[in-house]
């Protein structure tokens, strides 16, 4: 009964199809797309956004699917996080994404929030970003003019700023099959055991060739204006022999690749240190998936 926030007035549109949504997006000035609304509605209540027009796509079944096309997994941008989490395709083929989803928000939130929404909100702390970055996902951006594909690594431009043009909608996330025999892991450090924003989160994907690191992919969130890949660290590990010393020496580079800030959750210094620790741990866990055990300590 009580009203705690004033949702600004706006025009509400509920398109019947994706095409209609794209047309509205093209025609309407100052508009926002509503998917799960778990970020947008709150942001409107606190005055971060004051769109004139809101285009609701939450009911569009065209955007809700998880498909395995034999070489990639395609996820409709309107698919809820819980649906993705429960998908056997995802759990089997790209467990690193499921790991991230498992500790995102709560069950209630995951049943509403969508993967497209999490990406387009472009929070530095977006937890779906690091796994999709190490999986080298492609994003399908559609407008009435057609579609284009952008690698996720090029999608984020800054906090809440993306590659999307004014009239474009993220419609699909295409995740190529990971290399065979890839080990992958998502690790998140928050302020409590569940329902928490990350202080830092890391995803890794590793393959081995001739007892040496082959493919090494590392992505982090909450340590820069956008989620990012730590290319230099990846590069420095490639072709190196697999042992704890090598890993510990090289993951230190992560600190040079990130630009964390201090906020109410943690200091920049702590984030730097933890980026190194979590990257190392995620690499070790990825190797464990490949039955490579190193290091003296049991986890």
């Amino acid at each position: 009964m009580a009203i705690f926030y004033l949702l600004p007035r706006f025009n509400y549109y509920k398109p019947k199809s994706l095409n209609e949504a794209l047309k509205l997006l093209n025609d309407l000035e100052n508009s926002k797309v509503l998917a799960g609304g778990t970020d947008l509605v709150l942001d409107m209540k606190i005055g971060r956004y004051k769109p004139e027009n809101v285009i609701d796509i939450s009911h569009l079944n065209e955007l809700k699917y998880i498909k395995d096309d034999g070489k990639s997994i395609r996820i409709g941008a309107g698919t809820t996080l819980q649906t993705i989490l429960e998908s056997n395709i995802v759990r089997k083929k790209i467990p690193v994404l499921a790991e991230a989803l498992e500790i995102m928000g709560s069950w209630q939130l995951r049943n509403v929030a969508t993967i497209g929404g999490n990406l387009c909100n472009a929070s530095p702390a977006a937890d779906t970003a690091p796994p999709l970055m190490v999986l080298e996902a492609q994003l399908k951006l559609e407008s009435i003019e057609g579609a284009r594909y952008v690698p996720i690594t090029k999608f984020f431009h800054g906090p809440r700023i993306t590659e999307l043009k004014r009239n474009e909608l993220l419609t699909e996330i295409i995740i190529p099959y990971p290399p065979s025999n890839a080990g992958m892991k998502f690790l998140k450090l928050g302020r409590r055991a569940a329902h928490t924003l990350s202080i830092v989160a890391v995803a890794t994907l590793i393959t081995i060739k001739d007892d040496k690191f082959d493919i090494v992919r590392i992505a982090l969130n909450s340590v820069a204006p956008t989620p990012l890949r730590a290319y230099k660290t990846e590069e420095s590990l490639k072709d190196k022999p697999i042992n704890l010393n090598v890993i510990e020496e090289n993951v230190k580079r992560v600190a040079e690749e990130i630009k964390p800030i201090s906020d109410v959750r943690a200091s920049a210094e702590y984030r730097k240190e933890m980026s190194i620790v979590l990257t190392r741990d995620a690499i070790l866990e990825s190797l464990k998936m490949l039955n490579v055990k190193i290091g003296g300590e049991e986890f």
Binding site: F4, A194, E297
Partner: protein, 782 residues
């Protein structure tokens, strides 16, 4: 002369001696359980009315400023706005300070913290009230804000309260023996400074009230207060009308933890002010952000603690300085400080003690009641000191504690003789065994590697009832209806803890010998006699004395009647399952309903009050010596933790609680209190902290940035150990439980973390970041 059969002392003692019980000590299901799990239970917000106006707060944006002008013109012009109320619209007194007369209901002349209520806007629709609240312009003349209590103590050029001449709101002291001599004879001395932080109550239901004008100039308030009669008194004062015209009715309350003890009356008064001035029902509910910014918090403390002991392990002296940041208003700060001061020794006997307490004003949201009431901070410091002394002496921490622990016959820090009901030594011995303390302590001391385990112990004591000679009483009104059903009226509130819905029901059922479903509890209302507040772990311990006494009076009358009818002596009458019979001759009986019918027919009064005024001693405020509390509840918590030394993450794995709080009336309800208190104490220990910016504005006034523990953070809480050290005035010997398990939880966790990492922690919360840098600093030092 009161006849013996109506004398509360006689009746309390008589039932204290009972050896066999029908329902006392049993885990009966709470009578509100079904309603609550099915979502049918009504809370304040469920009582909406037609023709109601919606009230919205206007809060100060400034931490410290003079109010030059409040422009309500634009707001009043908005269609649907019914009224705007400021300090000048208050017909009675704009004064609601509990301990000191320093706090207005609505800011007047000056604001003292960002978030302070300045005005109320009432409108036909909540959206309109919201919009109008933004249209109110306040012209501030900024003053320099004082944020650091240590600085505020020294400053007199800037005053939070000009008229007081100092930023020190209140001081307390204890002087026992001679501390100089005590330290002279000590073989080891430990000195440290401890810091604790502001904690948010984070109740599920925020503050609110619905005030309804009634016939005869009366106002009924559906409120969320922990003390209905205080809400009544404060509202009457603010409106300038007799208290008897104010009726407080309370549905179920969505959590209080002390916060609604302080806030309940203030919010009731605000809603009542709007209803009174506008003449229509008025609903005020705080948003989460409003609540977090403007309601009182657990105090932040700085505690400087020096203690000494002999090599035999006997404490010789303590010297303690307690500085509490009370924020903008004293509120209950002075009472909180007194409690911390008089509990500063921990539950130990110490011959020499010097304690000084300071309650200091700053331009931050004010300190207030919060489960534990100043005690968790001081037990955190005292218990760290105990571990450090034991460490220096090369003694086991449990063994060292047992050498000093309070026992029957001990003198407390205020030189109060504890003549009975002191079960902590036994509790500590049993729980240390259960937790395999010795083995784990030894094993974990040798741990290497990344994940280090630690085990820590902390004891605590907590005075029951108001402190010193401050009057405290219990009461209740019980009437047995003609059909034999029983109506119990109490001011004790159902706030989630379940005392009026379990222990009170059990006590009435036990004393009258009727099944629990005969009993209807009417609780949390000013229609009942003043029962005191539902705070200070007193809902059952003190609150239910009245219920016991009233029921016992009725039982005496009924026994006499039944004896006549059954031709036996009154003491031979047994009442069980709604049937009165002669002891040993169950065939000679009368049904409960017939007995009551007969009582009505013969003109025997079937209603009774249970007033009981607690006897207290004297207290010398100059020396801080004398009678502090009628009894103490005691608790021991043992915590087992694991620390990831590479990230600083602390996981609490297990907790072993041991409680010496007299009779356990409902073990299930007590377990609920223990588990909840451990969760809240763990939040204080590990993660919860209200953060302020450089102007004193709360920057984490939401649950994104203010984190409380989740179920995933919870340790395994072992079955509690109970030592039933009966308290002579408690109902069936019960003492308080509600706050107990929280009090030593931060201390136990901090001691366990210290054990795990080998570095003394002195500041809460133990966030991963804090623990990590402590470890790294040590590493760098080598």
């Amino acid at each position: 002369m009161i006849p013996l059969s109506e004398d509360p002392f006689y009746l309390i003692e008589k039932w204290l001696k009972a050896k066999e019980f029908l329902v006392i000590g049993k885990s009966i299901q709470r009578i509100d359980a079904f309603e609550k799990v099915t979502g049918k239970a009504k809370f304040m917000e469920d009582y909406v009315l037609p023709n109601m106006v919606y009230v919205k707060l206007v809060l100060s944006s400034e931490p410290h400023a003079r109010i030059k002008a409040i422009d309500v013109g634009r707001a009043l012009k908005i269609r649907g706005v019914v009224g705007v109320l400021t300090a000048k619209d208050i017909p009675g007194e704009n004064q609601v300070g509990y301990a000191l007369p320093d706090q207005p209901l609505l800011a007047e002349g000056k604001v003292r913290y960002a978030g302070e209520p300045i005005a109320l806007v009432a409108a036909e629709e909540p959206e309109i009230a919201f919009e109008a609240s933004l249209a109110i312009k306040i012209d501030y003349e900024p003053l320099p804000p004082l944020l650091d209590p240590l600085e505020a103590m020294k400053r007199t050029d800037v005053l939070v309260h000009d008229e007081r001449g100092s930023n020190i709101a209140f001081t307390t002291r204890v002087r026992k023996g001679d501390v100089t001599e005590g330290f002279r004879v000590a073989d080891v001395i430990v000195k440290n400074e401890y810091r604790t932080q502001h904690q948010e109550h984070a109740y599920l239901e925020t503050e609110g009230a619905l005030a309804i004008p009634e016939i005869g100039g009366r106002i009924t308030i559906i409120s969320c207060a922990q003390y209905p009669h205080l809400a009544q008194a404060i509202t009457a004062r603010v409106l300038g009308i007799p208290a008897s015209r104010i009726r407080i009715v309370q549905p179920y309350i969505g959590g209080g933890f002390g916060g609604k003890d302080d806030m309940g009356p203030l919010v009731a008064a605000k809603a009542a002010l709007a209803a009174y001035k506008i003449g229509r029902p008025a609903l005020l509910i705080y948003s989460r952000e409003e609540s977090m910014k403007s309601h009182c918090k657990r105090e932040a403390s700085i505690i400087r603690y020096k203690s000494g002991a002999t090599k035999e392990g006997k404490l010789t002296a303590i010297e303690v300085e307690i500085i509490m940041d009370t924020g903008a208003y004293a509120n209950r700060g002075p009472f909180i400080l007194w409690r911390a001061t008089m509990h500063a020794s921990g539950p130990y006997e110490v011959p020499n003690a010097k304690v000084d307490g300071y309650c200091v004003y700053t331009n931050k949201v004010y300190q207030g009641s919060f489960r534990g009431f100043g005690n968790p901070d001081v037990q955190f410091a005292a218990e760290a000191q105990m571990d450090e002394l034991a460490n220096k002496l090369g003694m086991d921490p449990v063994e060292f504690r047992l050498k000093n622990i309070l026992r029957p016959g001990s003198l407390t820090i205020t030189s109060q003789l504890l003549d009975h009901s002191v079960g902590i030594a036994e509790a500590l011995e049993i729980v240390a065994q259960r937790a395999s303390w010795k083995e784990k302590r030894a094993l974990y001391s040798k741990m290497k590697g990344r994940f280090r385990r630690g085990i820590g112990v902390a004891c605590a004591w907590h005075g029951i009832s108001t402190s010193r000679g401050v009057p405290d009483w219990s009461n209740a009104f019980i009437k047995i209806e003609k059909d034999g059903s029983i109506h119990v009226f109490t001011g004790i509130v159902e706030i989630g803890q379940g005392s009026p819905t379990t222990s009170h029901v059990q006590i009435v059922s036990e004393v009258l010998g009727v099944p629990v479903n005969y009993i209807n509890m009417y609780f949390g209302t000013s229609d009942a006699p003043d029962t005191g507040a539902t705070h200070a772990s007193r809902g059952t311990s003190i609150g239910a004395i009245g219920v016991l006494v009233a029921a016992a009076k009725l039982r005496e009358r009924l026994n006499k009647l039944a004896a006549e009818l059954l031709e036996c002596r009154p003491e031979e009458v047994i009442v069980r399952n709604g049937k009165a019979f002669v002891k040993g001759r169950e065939e000679k009986y009368i049904m409960w309903k017939d007995l009551i019918k007969e009582a009505y027919a013969r003109g025997i009064e079937m209603s009774a009050t249970g007033f009981f005024f607690l006897p207290k001693g004297t207290f010398d405020h100059e020396k801080g010596q004398g009678f502090a509390y009628p009894a103490y509840s005691y608790i021991v918590n043992i915590a087992e933790v694991e620390v990831d030394i590479e990230t600083g993450i602390v996981r609490v794995l297990r907790m072993w609680p041991a409680l010496a709080s007299g009779r356990i009336i409902n073990p299930l309800a007590v377990e609920g209190q223990i588990e909840g208190a451990i969760a809240q104490g763990m939040g204080l220990a590990l993660m919860e902290k209200v953060e302020f910016d450089e102007r004193g504005v709360v920057i984490n006034a939401n649950f994104t940035d203010y984190v409380v523990p989740t179920i995933m953070d919870m340790p395994k809480v072992e079955k509690p150990v109970y030592v039933e050290d009966l308290f002579k005035y408690g109902p069936f010997g019960a003492k308080g439980v509600g706050e107990m398990a929280l009090i030593p939880t931060p201390a136990a966790i901090a001691n366990a973390v210290t054990h795990a990492i080998g570095i003394r922690v002195t500041e809460l919360p133990l966030t991963p970041e804090k623990v990590y840098f402590l470890i790294r600093k040590r590493k760098m030092k080598g």
